[in-house]
């Protein structure tokens, strides 16, 4: 008998200028990361407003990770600094509402860090898998 292993659905918002290219590099180098990581390309990590994150959860994501350029390396100079403040406040609020803090993460991954990209995704997928399905943030109204 085959037991289906639970695989978490992960949404990864990746900045076009760094981590999206980092994901590419990971692929070119044949590095493995879970196929259940769904990448959404954004022009800057700062493009991601809190609604994006919550909406991903509402629609059934088990974990949401946001990847941007390292502080100081933003293609638009300062976008990721705003991201950092916003997400610090948002994550803290989610925690305040009793939502597992391991389900969200921000990671800075450059275009040259294919290995870091794969590592980050593997690690995040493992953490989220340990938490199990996202129940506290899903919203049946939004699920298709």
């Amino acid at each position: 008998m085959q037991v289906n292993e639970y695989k978490p659905l992960i949404v990864a918002f990746c900045c076009n200028w760094c981590s999206y290219a980092g994901a590419d590099l990971a692929g070119n180098n044949r590095l493995n990361y879970p196929a259940d990581v769904k990448i959404i390309r954004v022009p800057c990590s700062c493009r991601v407003n809190p609604m994006f994150i919550l909406r991903a959860f509402q629609r059934g994501a088990d974990g949401v990770i946001l990847c941007g350029c390292h502080p100081g390396d933003c293609h638009y100079t300062s976008g990721n600094y705003y991201t950092r403040r916003r997400m610090a406040l948002l994550f803290s609020m989610l925690d305040y509402l009793g939502i597992e803090k391991e389900r969200t993460r921000v990671e800075w991954v450059s275009a040259a860090e294919g290995a870091k990209f794969a590592e980050t995704m593997n690690d995040f997928a493992k953490t989220v898998a340990a938490l199990g399905e996202n129940k506290r943030l899903e919203d049946l109204r939004c699920k298709k």
Binding site: R85, F91, D95, K101
Partner: protein, 329 residues
């Protein structure tokens, strides 16, 4: 009881109307019950003389009303502002939401406004409410009268008043107060100390009562977007639908997030919520976090200040560390 008498406000309003400084006056009118005072716009001294009400239920913050009202005429409108209202007033000026030249602001001292919800839940069939200073007498239709401590009837915003000082006005009636050392973050800290499961249960209980009337958004002087995300019929979340655990949390997180850094903690949202949801505990969490991550900041304390959420330093705390910090606190 309010330390300043109704006559003082009425005389001031009539004087300014008659000498042409203003041609409209924001004030309050009697409603169905003693505790049902409604905001109103007056245009004649006669109406003011007859209908203007001032007392313990004049809690409405008029700052937001100025956005529409100042757009209607070139003349000035008179507005009475409690100390907490002046912070919203400044914040709206910072956001260029109304023309300062079209407003004549009169600061009024405040002894705390009574909580309508607490009054209503303290007795059945209320016919009259009288404030004697320390005590409030509630007369009822069938059970005689009951006397309560005034302090017990104050809403959270007044019990934890952050300031009796007016930060904006053209003229002040009575004495100005001082910025206070309030305990407004105590409740937030209590929640932070609970386990995540306890917190989830707490908020689940509170937020599942939400009927999505949007009153908290409509009244908020920081929520002034011409188009609000929550009016989008394609969002799937514009109406109430009790489906599962998440329920209205998305609305509440985003509402509070959109005003983070601009919320002056005026307490209007909690005041108007028909379900008595302690919305201030969400707003104050953001205020407390902003204070501890980026340095103390009070929205509306001065015109033109830059909110920490639209600012940054290269050394800011990482989101992961911000959350872990809560754990160790």
């Amino acid at each position: 009881m309010q330390e300043i008498k109704r006559e003082v406000l009425v005389n001031k309003a009539s004087e300014l109307l008659k000498n042409g400084t203003v041609d409209r006056v924001f004030g309050w009118k009697k409603g169905e019950f003693d505790y049902d005072i409604t905001p109103a716009l007056f245009t004649t001294a006669e109406d003011i003389e007859n209908e203007f009400v001032w007392g313990d239920f004049c809690g409405a913050n008029f700052s937001k009303y100025l956005i529409k009202e100042t757009g209607k005429s070139e003349n000035k409108v008179l507005v009475f502002l409690k100390p907490c209202d002046t912070y919203s007033f400044n914040q709206l000026l910072t956001e260029h939401r109304f023309d300062r030249e079209k407003v004549y602001a009169v600061g009024v001292p405040c002894n705390g406004m009574l909580d309508t919800g607490k009054i209503k839940s303290s007795a059945e069939g209320i016919s009259k409410v009288t404030d004697n200073g320390d005590k409030v007498v509630i007369e009822t239709l069938f059970d005689g009268e009951i006397t309560l401590d005034r302090n017990e009837l104050l809403p959270d915003r007044c019990l934890n008043c952050k300031s009796k000082k007016h930060v904006a006005y053209d003229e002040l009636l009575g004495e100005d107060g001082a910025v206070l050392d309030s305990n407004r973050f105590d409740e937030v800290e209590k929640l932070e100390k609970m386990t995540p499961d306890e917190r989830f249960a707490f908020w689940q209980n509170e937020l599942s009562r939400c009927i999505r009337c949007n009153a908290c958004r409509d009244v908020c002087p920081a929520c002034t977007c011409e188009k609000c995300v929550f009016d989008n019929p394609n969002s799937g979340v514009e109406n109430k639908a009790a489906t599962n655990e998440f329920e209205e949390k998305m609305f509440h997180i985003i509402r509070a997030f959109h005003v983070a850094g601009r919320c002056t903690d005026c307490g209007e949202c909690s005041r108007v919520c028909p379900q008595h949801i302690p919305l201030h505990l969400l707003n104050r969490k953001f205020i407390k976090d902003i204070d501890s991550f980026y340095g103390e900041y009070q929205a509306g304390a001065e015109v033109g200040s830059r909110a920490p959420i639209v600012n940054y330093t290269t050394e800011d705390i990482e989101p992961g560390d911000a959350v872990r910090r809560n754990e160790n606190a």
